[in-house]
C-alpha cells in the first residue's frame, strides 16, 4: 500500500515537472553526424558545433539539437528521437553509412520535415531537399592536373584509396581520367580506409614491393600521416613527394611553410557541414528557397593560399 502511495506521489511530481516548460515559437533544427572516428569526422563535429553555437546566438528563433552517433543503429535511433521527442522541423545529416540510413532518413522526410544531406549520397535520389557536398570528382581532377604539371614526362606513382564506397570511386576515376596519356604510371593502388594505421601498413607494403616510386597520392591527410611515418621508418622520405587531401590543419601549415615532401594539399573541407547548417537555417529565418545541390569546390592549396585554409582551433 505504501508502495502505491509513494509511486502515486512520484508520478504526480513527474507530471507537474513535465508541464513546467513554456512553449515558444521556435524552429528546431536537428544535426546528426557520425562520431569522430577519424580526423575528418573530428573536423565535422567541431565545425558543426561551432556553426550551431554561432547560429543560436545570431538567430534567437532557432533551436538546435546536436547528436553524434558511432554507428547506424544509434544514428537511426537519434533520428527517431529527434522527430518524436525533440520535435524538429528540419534535419541536417551526414549519414555515417548512407545505404543503411536511407530508409530512416526517408521516414523523417515523410514526416514532413526538411532534410539536408551532407557529403554522402543516399542510395536513392529524391529524398533530400538540399544536398551539400565537396567535389569528389573535382578533387581527383585537380590532383591529376598537379601531378601532370610536376611529372610532365611521366613517372611511377602509387595510390592509396579510401574506403570502398562511391565517393572514393569518384575521386579515383576522375584522377585516372585526368592523368590519361600523360605517361604517369600507377604502380599499385589499395584501400587505406582514410585512417593513419591503414595508410601506414599499405605504404609499408608498397615500399617493400616497389624499389622506385616518384610520388604518392593518398587523397586524404589522415592517410598521409601514416604514409609519412612509413617513409620515415624506411628512410626513403627524400625519394618521393606525397599529396593528400581534405585540408588537415597540420598539413596546411606544412604546405604554407613550403615543404618539399608535401608540396600541396587539395581541400575537401569538413566545414561543409557548417555550410549545410547555415543554408538550411536561411530557408527558415529568411524564407529563401534553398532546395538543390550545393557542391563546394576542391581547391588546390599551395604555399600562396594556404593561410586561407588555416582554421583556428580545429582538431582536424
Amino acid at each position: 500500500m505504501k508502495f502505491v502511495k509513494y509511486s502515486a506521489v512520484a508520478v504526480a511530481i513527474a507530471g507537474s515537472l513535465g508541464l513546467a516548460a513554456p512553449a515558444l515559437a521556435q524552429t528546431v533544427i536537428g544535426v546528426s553526424v557520425p562520431t569522430a572516428d577519424h580526423g575528418w569526422t573530428g573536423g565535422i563535429n567541431f565545425f558543426a558545433q561551432q556553426a550551431v553555437e554561432r547560429l543560436e546566438a545570431t538567430y534567437p528563433e532557432l533551436d538546435f539539437v546536436f547528436q553524434s552517433a558511432p554507428d547506424s543503429t544509434k544514428q537511426a535511433a537519434d533520428l527517431e528521437d529527434m522527430v518524436t521527442t525533440r520535435g524538429i522541423d528540419a534535419l541536417v545529416i551526414l549519414p555515417g553509412d548512407p545505404d543503411a540510413m536511407t530508409a530512416s532518413i526517408k521516414k523523417v522526410k515523410d514526416a514532413g520535415k526538411w532534410v539536408t544531406v551532407v557529403d554522402r549520397e543516399l542510395s536513392q535520389s529524391g529524398i533530400e531537399d538540399l544536398y551539400v557536398a565537396g567535389d569528389n570528382p573535382g578533387l581527383g581532377a585537380v590532383t591529376a592536373e598537379y601531378f601532370k604539371s610536376r611529372l610532365p614526362d611521366g613517372g611511377k606513382i602509387v595510390v592509396l584509396r579510401g574506403m570502398p564506397i562511391p565517393i572514393d570511386a569518384q575521386r579515383v576515376d576522375a584522377f585516372k581520367a585526368g592523368i590519361e596519356g600523360s605517361g604517369i604510371e600507377i604502380l599499385d593502388e589499395q584501400f587505406a580506409n582514410w585512417n593513419r594505421d591503414d595508410g601506414y601498413k599499405v605504404m609499408q607494403d608498397f615500399l617493400t614491393k616497389h624499389a622506385e616510386i616518384d610520388a604518392v597520392w593518398c587523397q586524404d591527410d589522415d592517410i598521409l600521416i601514416g604514409v609519412m611515418k612509413a617513409l620515415k621508418e624506411a628512410g626513403r622520405e627524400n625519394e618521393m613527394w606525397v599529396v593528400g587531401g581534405a585540408g588537415m590543419n597540420q598539413i596546411i601549415k606544412m604546405v604554407g611553410a613550403g615543404s618539399e615532401q608535401v608540396p600541396v594539399d587539395v581541400t575537401y573541407n569538413p566545414n561543409m557541414i557548417a555550410v549545410a547548417i547555415d543554408v538550411t537555417a536561411l530557408h527558415f529565418v529568411a524564407g529563401l528557397q534553398t532546395n538543390g545541390r550545393y557542391i563546394i569546390d576542391s581547391t588546390l592549396v599551395t604555399p600562396e593560399n594556404a593561410a586561407e585554409f588555416d582554421y583556428e582551433g580545429t582538431p582536424f
Partner: protein, 334 residues
C-alpha cells in the same frame, strides 16, 4: 487435563520485499519518471513505441541468450551471427528476386532462409560445445571472429544492399503495425510469452535450468545434457535469425560494422533482468525489462544536455554491476 492448545495459528509468512525481483521494475519505473521530467513528449505512445521497437532486436536475441545462460553456457557470437545472417538474407533475396519477383514470396523465402541459417549457425556452436567438449566462451569467441570475417568477405569490404523494390515491399515488416502496435514489438512480445512458458512450464525448460544449476546431478537424473544444451544454442541461433529478419527491412543493408557488440548488450540485458550468469535460473520477463531499461538509458541521455551521450555505456555498465550486486543478496532469499 488437556490444555487448550494456544490459538496461535502458524504465523503467515510476511511477503518479503524481494529487491532482486522488483529491482528491474523499480529501475524501469524510475527511468520512466526521469524521462517524463526531462521532456513532455517522452511518455507519448510514439516515443515508447520507438523505444520498444528498437529494443526488440537485442531483446529477441537476449531471449535466446537467456536460455543459453540459464543452461550454464554463453554465446558471444550473436552480434556477428546476426550480421552474417542479415547479409545472407540480403544475398538470397537479391539472387531470387529476378525469378520470384519482388513481392511477398521472395521475402518469405528470405525470412525462412534467415531462420534456417541462424539455427544452423547456432547448431555449429552447439555441436562444438557439446560433442567437441570445448568451453562455450572459446567456441563462441572463435565463432564471433569467423562470422564477422564472413560478412566482411561477403560484402567485399563494402556493404550489401537489398534490392530496392523488394525493400519497399519488405519495409512494412518493420514499419507496419497491427492495431497500432508496430510489428517488431508484437513479434518480440509473442516470442517472450512463448519463451516464458517454455522455460517455466515445459520439461525442456526445467531441464535447461537443471543443467545450469548442477550439470552432474542433471546427468545422473537421466537428462540428456548434450541434447538439451545443443537445443539451447539452436534456439539462440533461431532468435538471431528472427532478429536479422527484422533488421533487414529497417536498414536494408549489411556490412562489417553491422550488429557490432550486440552480444554484450544482450548479455547485459539478461543479467539486469535477474538471470544468473552462472546458470540455473532464468527469467524471461526480466530480460524484456532489462532490454527496455538499456534502451531507455540511451533515449534519456539523448533528451538532456547535462551529461554527454558518450557516457551511455558507462551507465549501462554501472547498472549491470548494480544488478549483479542485487543478485548476490537475493541468493540468500531464494
Amino acid at each position: 487435563m488437556t490444555t487448550v492448545a494456544s490459538d496461535s495459528a502458524p504465523k503467515v509468512q510476511k511477503r518479503r520485499f524481494r529487491l532482486g525481483v522488483l529491482g528491474p521494475l523499480i529501475a524501469l519505473a524510475l527511468l520512466l519518471i526521469l524521462g517524463t521530467a526531462l521532456n513532455g513528449n517522452f511518455l507519448t505512445f510514439a516515443n515508447m513505441a520507438n523505444i520498444v521497437a528498437r529494443a526488440s532486436f537485442i531483446g529477441i536475441i537476449a531471449i535466446g541468450a537467456t536460455f543459453v545462460i540459464t543452461s550454464g553456457g554463453l554465446d558471444l557470437s550473436v552480434g556477428s551471427m546476426a550480421a552474417f545472417t542479415a547479409g545472407m538474407i540480403i544475398i538470397i533475396i537479391n539472387a531470387l528476386a529476378p525469378t520470384l519477383g519482388t513481392g511477398i514470396e521472395v521475402i518469405a523465402v528470405g525470412i525462412l532462409a534467415g531462420l534456417l541459417i541462424g539455427s544452423a549457425s547456432g547448431a555449429c556452436n552447439g555441436i562444438l560445445v557439446t560433442a567437441g567438449r570445448i568451453e562455450p566462451f572459446i567456441v563462441t569467441l572463435g565463432a564471433l571472429g569467423i562470422f564477422r570475417a564472413l560478412i566482411t568477405f561477403l560484402a567485399n569490404g563494402g556493404t550489401l544492399n537489398l534490392n530496392f523494390e523488394v525493400g519497399w515491399a519488405y519495409e512494412p515488416v518493420y514499419t507496419g503495425d497491427i492495431l497500432g502496435i508496430p510489428v517488431p514489438i508484437i513479434v518480440f512480445f509473442a516470442i517472450a510469452i512463448v519463451a516464458e512458458v517454455v522455460l517455466r512450464r515445459t520439461t525442456f525448460g526445467r531441464h535447461v535450468a537443471a543443467i545450469g544449476s548442477n550439470e552432474q546431478v542433471a546427468r545422473y537424473s537421466a537428462i540428456n545434457v548434450d541434447r538439451v544444451r545443443l537445443l539451447t544454442y539452436i534456439l539462440q541461433g533461431l532468435m538471431v535469425g528472427v532478429a536479422a529478419a527484422l533488421y533487414v527491412p529497417k536498414f536494408g543493408s549489411a556490412n562489417s560494422s553491422t550488429a557490432v557488440l550486440w552480444e554484450l548488450q544482450a548479455i547485459a540485458a539478461v543479467i539486469i533482468g535477474g538471470t544468473m550468469l552462472k546458470g540455473g535460473f532464468g527469467r524471461i520477463w526480466g530480460t524484456v525489462v532489462g532490454v527496455v531499461i538499456l534502451e531507455l538509458i540511451g533515449n534519456i541521455l539523448n533528451l538532456q544536455s547535462l551529461i554527454s551521450p558518450y557516457l551511455n555505456q558507462a551507465f549501462q555498465g554501472a547498472i549491470i554491476i548494480l544488478a549483479v550486486l542485487l543478485q548476490r543478496t537475493r541468493t540468500n532469499q531464494r
